[in-house]
Symmetry: D2
Subunit: 438 residues, 4 copies
Amino acid sequence: MGQSIFSSFPTVEYKGAESTSDLAYRWYDADRTVLGKPLREHLRFAVAYWHSLAMNGSDPFGAPTIRRPWMDRSDAMQAAQDKADAAFDLFRVLDLPFYTFHDRDITPDGQTLRESITNLHSMSDYLAKKMESSKTRLLWGTANLFSHPRFMSGAATNPDPEVFAYSATTIKHCMDVTKKLGGENYVLWGGREGYETLLNTSLKRELEQMGRMLALVVEYKHKIGFNGQILLEPKPKEPTVHQYDFDTATVFGFLKRFGLESEVKVNLEANHALLAGHTFEHEIATAADLGILGSLDINRGDPLLGWDTDQFPVDLYSMTLAMYHVIQVGGLGRGGMNFDAKVRRQSTEPEDLLHAHIGGVDMCARAFLIAAKIHEEGRLAEIVDARYAGWDLPENKAMLAGKESLEAIAARSEERNINPQPRSGRQEQLENLINRYL
Amino acid sequence: MGQSIFSSFPTVEYKGAESTSDLAYRWYDADRTVLGKPLREHLRFAVAYWHSLAMNGSDPFGAPTIRRPWMDRSDAMQAAQDKADAAFDLFRVLDLPFYTFHDRDITPDGQTLRESITNLHSMSDYLAKKMESSKTRLLWGTANLFSHPRFMSGAATNPDPEVFAYSATTIKHCMDVTKKLGGENYVLWGGREGYETLLNTSLKRELEQMGRMLALVVEYKHKIGFNGQILLEPKPKEPTVHQYDFDTATVFGFLKRFGLESEVKVNLEANHALLAGHTFEHEIATAADLGILGSLDINRGDPLLGWDTDQFPVDLYSMTLAMYHVIQVGGLGRGGMNFDAKVRRQSTEPEDLLHAHIGGVDMCARAFLIAAKIHEEGRLAEIVDARYAGWDLPENKAMLAGKESLEAIAARSEERNINPQPRSGRQEQLENLINRYL
Amino acid sequence: MGQSIFSSFPTVEYKGAESTSDLAYRWYDADRTVLGKPLREHLRFAVAYWHSLAMNGSDPFGAPTIRRPWMDRSDAMQAAQDKADAAFDLFRVLDLPFYTFHDRDITPDGQTLRESITNLHSMSDYLAKKMESSKTRLLWGTANLFSHPRFMSGAATNPDPEVFAYSATTIKHCMDVTKKLGGENYVLWGGREGYETLLNTSLKRELEQMGRMLALVVEYKHKIGFNGQILLEPKPKEPTVHQYDFDTATVFGFLKRFGLESEVKVNLEANHALLAGHTFEHEIATAADLGILGSLDINRGDPLLGWDTDQFPVDLYSMTLAMYHVIQVGGLGRGGMNFDAKVRRQSTEPEDLLHAHIGGVDMCARAFLIAAKIHEEGRLAEIVDARYAGWDLPENKAMLAGKESLEAIAARSEERNINPQPRSGRQEQLENLINRYL
Amino acid sequence: MGQSIFSSFPTVEYKGAESTSDLAYRWYDADRTVLGKPLREHLRFAVAYWHSLAMNGSDPFGAPTIRRPWMDRSDAMQAAQDKADAAFDLFRVLDLPFYTFHDRDITPDGQTLRESITNLHSMSDYLAKKMESSKTRLLWGTANLFSHPRFMSGAATNPDPEVFAYSATTIKHCMDVTKKLGGENYVLWGGREGYETLLNTSLKRELEQMGRMLALVVEYKHKIGFNGQILLEPKPKEPTVHQYDFDTATVFGFLKRFGLESEVKVNLEANHALLAGHTFEHEIATAADLGILGSLDINRGDPLLGWDTDQFPVDLYSMTLAMYHVIQVGGLGRGGMNFDAKVRRQSTEPEDLLHAHIGGVDMCARAFLIAAKIHEEGRLAEIVDARYAGWDLPENKAMLAGKESLEAIAARSEERNINPQPRSGRQEQLENLINRYL
């Protein structure tokens, strides 16, 4: 390996909040112990191969603006190796513990299915070698089953069973590769699992196909002894008009329907939450309550725009709320925080990529430190607990535990002629409380 | 009973599409047989007591504009009777088979819980008497557990268990009254079952409370031998920032979680679908696929506005798609089509209420007739079936039936080196096909 | 010219509403006289070169799905000629009176500015020759100043004056070519005239640059004796976060600011109206009221999606309202109705393009015929006029004409102690009235 | 005056960021000099009478939850005085320099126009007396021309000219009262100046009526020597489906059309910007660029909800951007920052109102301090200026100044065969820069 576009950049170091350097971490002190373990282990940051190495700045109205050396090479496999070299050099610069990829990020499509598989294994060997001299490990792998025209009408949910088979084959090998590289999770994002119009769609068939594919994945995971988590990534729409994995609650119902709720969790993305009409913290809290919180894709959307902008996060207030919920539910376990975020189309320099990640890493770290303090001081939790304190009384516990029938509750209430009084929800005071910590 | 504001109007009759009368049905020929039974039995229209009798035209920026005689009476119970007299006179004019109500629509709140219950039973007796001389029956009853300040922080999901008890008591009596009046369904819309801010909310506790309440309702239904359907009504937000019964898929997951999916169905509203980011037909198709399609609230929202406008439907294209899905899944059974729609604030005359319902009834009837024709001719269904025909081949059926493992599918696909080709989804042609029927 | 992908299709003919052919017009009887002239002259349909000839089905998550023969040719100028051959063959099949193009649709970018200009003139000569044997004329031309990376930060509004100069040069030649080909309008859509973030943007400078460019265009138009209309095309966002030509009202203010309101009009698009939070008919009525209605881009968006879907229209109700406003304001003059609409990514066959246009043409024609009837019968206009009749009284006319001061009006009102009473707006009745015509 | 519900609260004092008191200012040190004058004079905070004194917590689905003593008094004028007493007690507690009101906030509607006017003058005298012993002055007054049913179809834009006259009369007296009380601005928010449906609306007539009313107001201002600013408040929708004062750019066009652009400015609200699809800072920057920035309504909306939530601000990042633009354009002059914000429906205690204002005041003050620092250090402005530096070269200035024709620019560009190169917009770096200051 020779020089990469990142070679000239030294590793980004933690220099504290007072640092005036643009290329230093000001909040992400990876070794700092918080809530009993180092920040690094709480946050488990990952760099996304696709956005950082494969994204070229094209949009529906414009051509690529971001040109990297490997994009212009005519030998596709050599280009893939150059890209991998640059990737690991970027990981070195950012000094983050994880990365993530789709098969198509690390290796080009072959002329045939077999060639694609061969390429995939070959490039994964190359990555394995790169990882030997890198501290960066694999948070998760996944298959791109949405870009190629063959997937235009779906992968698992395609009306053509041959596409289902092609997808199954691809997933199998991606799982093999993820296991080989020590990945801690395997993710499925159903980019074309949905519909453009109900006019040509059988919801019934497509959901059954999708359920079957997921069952196959879970069976295979156990068969090969892959001990990572299987994660679905909810998104409500885009590229399709409606995507089946709409949001966390929808995915939960889907998992229950196919009996997979103890086998599969969710990989939640801030921007996808927004597109579904939710806050990120809502999705986190919901997934945790349903027992399916797996991992996070860190980014932000623009609430004034209607598409997935995948921007790096900038807002401390909302990030703090997200981190607070992560802490409240006991952290992410084998999941992590993956920067599923890309620089803007006009941010054409390699250095822009560094600014973006540094800003995102610091935003999360700073928010996490604040959230940890809110958690440790416990005042917010106390106020919430006090609000529900009545439910801890034995008679009310009994009512909730199913020990009283509707008519028994009614009889008791009528007997006492109860007249419950509203009590302030104190929202503004709590909002001030949060801001006090920022 | 004396004169009502509707007394001067004759019963609206079907006069055919060529009629120039503003106060006649042009498409709703109730006795016309379509798909084997009269339109009346397919459509099962209901008038909503609240919008038609209780709505006064106030909005967040303005005072009431719609004044009906009973609104100015000082004796609340007499006002309730006057209102009921007018209601049944309206039902006579519109000649529709059903009506629907909340407890608070038909009777005022009492000074105490007991008085409220007494009032409710008293007024339901009055309604029972009115029904003796009316052809209009009760499609469903429900409890208003969202307007009074005691419910400001939720009913079943209130942090105060006394509100839970108060709500349970109210629901019990509303179920009793619904049964007494021959109601065919009992509906729960969780207008305050949600949150304003996660800061003061325990999702975990509130969802458990909500699950418990629903279980109590189902147990009680069986106990009293109410043989109607229990229906939840999804809505994503408004009045709260987030409502737990977000949409059909969310409700399904909730029902599965609490083991109630075979006991409870959904009452779907067009405007609520829109607020959740769905088309009405999506919600209908999804509920049908999940086996929980119960009943429909007919209205429309305004996609350019972000609140529940509850307008009467005007658009034939989208209504036809909704009706087509209703027909495809076998109709609504004991459910019906309830006009959960109100006249605009500036539509202050009783006659406006007639125009609104006549327009809505005709819109649904016309759309149903078109959808029935599409269904009967079968061309659309044929095209969809043909698209999935490959899945009917034995080898593909087997794959879907779980008879092949992931690695077996992969081995077979690699062996054949498959290369599935994209096929046109023909969306524009199908859109033209629908318009051909309009 | 040899065979094109459209050669096998006969010209689409009007066969009447009862026709069962999928490839016939059922409503667009071009020669039928309505409101004093043939439908053809009212509707002035145009085929958009870019969507119909250059669109390849790629989207932000997927590769091209639509492959046309000329897309794979290595000789770019030969490809451009093949594309033009196919274009005119498509025009023949659709038998529509106009087409529209960007410079980049008809000719490839050259290696240099000069080469691009040479190519443009060369290809425009080719088009001129094609037009000799075609009935299809040019509705408008325009320059693509948004796709190439050089325009990533704007064309006229670029921080780099050299891009302004490059854009000016390109516009000059596009105007020359538009004039040469007999174009009836010249359009400017500011696809990158806006910002991604205010952080790096000088609104003040950019708006001044944009005003200057438009003034240059207007001066040049007069200089070369181009007697077509100059049109701006409003769009609120996408591809940028904020576009300066947000909507009609914004454009009007911009024109007034730079004194160009009598020189420039708007080309309005249905989907852009939706993205700005307006109905299409709102934009039409507003532009007409402000005296700047120029031309229309016919398409539809999806109100549940947040991007420019550019779909062919399917909804008769909303199209009728748009057409009614076009008729009310006296038609489009030298403007027309351009199908700025594309087939879905899965609609990969040439035939899909025909279905799409036939559906769109028929939708507009049918809506126009209905709107013409509403207009001719005049009942809707009568009701509206009656609502404002009070303003036609001399004393009220005087008040509006500025002949009374605020205090004089107040004195008179207090003297009379006026108490105006609300009157029903009759919205539902009017909505029914429209549906009566459909 | 006796006790009010605020009597028990001491005046809120500045205690610094380290204060642990919930009822102290932590950032708003009114006397602190920043950018040459005290914070108090930069921020010019106002308390909104309606939200703080008149709001009762009702919403479209629920009854009032917030009960204040004056709301239950049967003597309306006495209630108005009690309310005023409480208002000035609240101003004392919050120690803010301004307040704002509608006529209907401070005085009840009379039985007749004349009685309403008498009441208004009587209560304004009462307010004048209260102001003698208060430090709080009047930022602006306005007329509520949207709540009463008479305004249901508009005030100035009503189809009934008598409503126009009634509105004109009301405005005249509100202007008189505003002048009498030393108000520094007079605001017009057109809550019903818009339409519910174009079907019953003449845009042309209504906009002319609105233009005339504004001209009357401006003439009257000069006549009585009111030297405050006249301000329009843009809002795109709600309560109507479309409001004519959609956003800043629309208002600018309207003012230009009626020749009032040097007489009238805008009062911008954060939540209204959001509803129009803009950021608050966009509206501020746009108004400043157009020379019509008048005053600010401080609040926030919820981007996941589609109505005007009027919440107190909580987000430091976005508020900092807004304040930065205020500083960049030279401040607000005679305008101020009015808390057009209300506590949530569940925040029922008087103390909630204090928390809300304290949080809002501190949020603005903190953001202003940060923005002042960004402004003073100048790094952001430098980067922006550098981006446009090319335009300061003489040849480019000339091009912008209109000294070159389109063909001259083209000739020069072709001669040089220019090839402008894209340069990074550095968005992420600038976003990090902002966060560095927070």
